[in-house]
Symmetry: C2
Subunit: 202 residues, 2 copies
């Protein structure tokens, strides 16, 4: 056997063991139910990953609801997903980040209005995926009651998935979640003096 | 002044300082050019974040190219983005994860075929965003020459953005990238015995 053939054989054996382990895990994981996902951390990709899941869901014929709690200006994803009003219910609430408005009472009121919209989506059996974009920010600043939010999430339809995004996820939400991803920043072009780019940052 | 008013005032002052810092950074960051983004780590969201950026780009009228290096079966995002053949050129190459095929030579050949397709997209000025999904896996296993990949990335059109996904990004690629995000796993439903869900995992 040549060295290259040996390497291929070892690879084959290793992959066969890996396949056995993964197949076993898949066989064990049989629950079908709606998941609560949280995307937190200081890195990029929290919201864009949620919007990738929107595309994924739409590809499977699943209807989607989106509530943006903090975003001000319209983004590329909003322009795009608004093309499909039968498939995506899209609500951009709030009026920009809180450091733009500097008015705590107004931010609180806006967050509460947004939660009323979210609550409707969370009660709708026809909607298979709900994105609550930047909800973590609203919770972190105390604009919404955590207990109310957790209760409404808990009471949602059994098969409905929810994705919550934003920095600084509250511990109780992490506790309640099925899947939590921390997006951490390794390197960011913005810090190196590159302008926020259309199609990438917004 | 009541306690609540004082809190609001402090909030306002803090947010005003934050706004000043952020406005200054935005003013400094004036470069407009195509970015190289890398999504790595063991958490969820590497590919879905790239597909969220696809939606974002499409919303801005930017044309997109996608090459999937490893994926086997069709996913929700593929079904969805194939609805827009004028806007998205979508190529699913490879035949499943390497632990499914257990054949190193075939995987290598497939990766090289996929790179030829990627190279065409990376030479096309009309395409503003190229997603190279799971390219990191192909590089990690040595299925592609790192030098060739880096040279082709470097030679792409000046305004073209590229997103590379997959675990175990090579150091040289991280070095070459503008923005690097590490998606790390905090908690995963799959490990808790929940089946991979349509619209969430694929």
């Amino acid at each position: 056997m040549t060295e290259s053939e040996e390497r291929d054989e070892r690879h084959k054996a290793r992959m066969a063991r890996k396949k056995a382990v993964i197949d076993e895990k898949i066989a064990q994981a049989s629950d079908e139910r709606g998941l609560l996902l949280v995307h937190s951390g200081n890195g990029k990709g929290k919201s864009s990953s949620a919007f990738g899941m929107v595309a994924r869901a739409l590809g499977h014929g699943i209807k989607v609801g989106v509530v943006q709690f903090i975003k001000g200006a319209a983004t590329g994803e909003e322009a795009f997903f608004r093309r499909f009003p039968e498939e995506v219910r899209y609500f951009r609430m709030g009026e920009g980040f809180t450091w733009e408005t500097q008015d705590r009472q107004r931010d609180k009121l806006k967050a509460e209005e947004a939660w009323q919209v979210a609550r409707e989506l969370l009660a709708d059996e026809d909607i298979g995926l709900v994105v609550l974009d930047e909800l973590n920010i609203a919770l972190k600043h105390g604009y919404l009651e955590l207990d109310v939010v957790l209760a409404d999430l808990h009471a949602r339809p059994f098969l409905q998935h929810v994705v919550v995004t934003g920095r600084g996820a509250r511990d109780e939400l992490i506790e309640a979640a099925d899947t939590v991803t921390d997006m951490s920043l390794v390197k960011h072009a913005f810090k190196a003096g590159v302008k926020a780019q259309k199609g990438i940052e917004f």
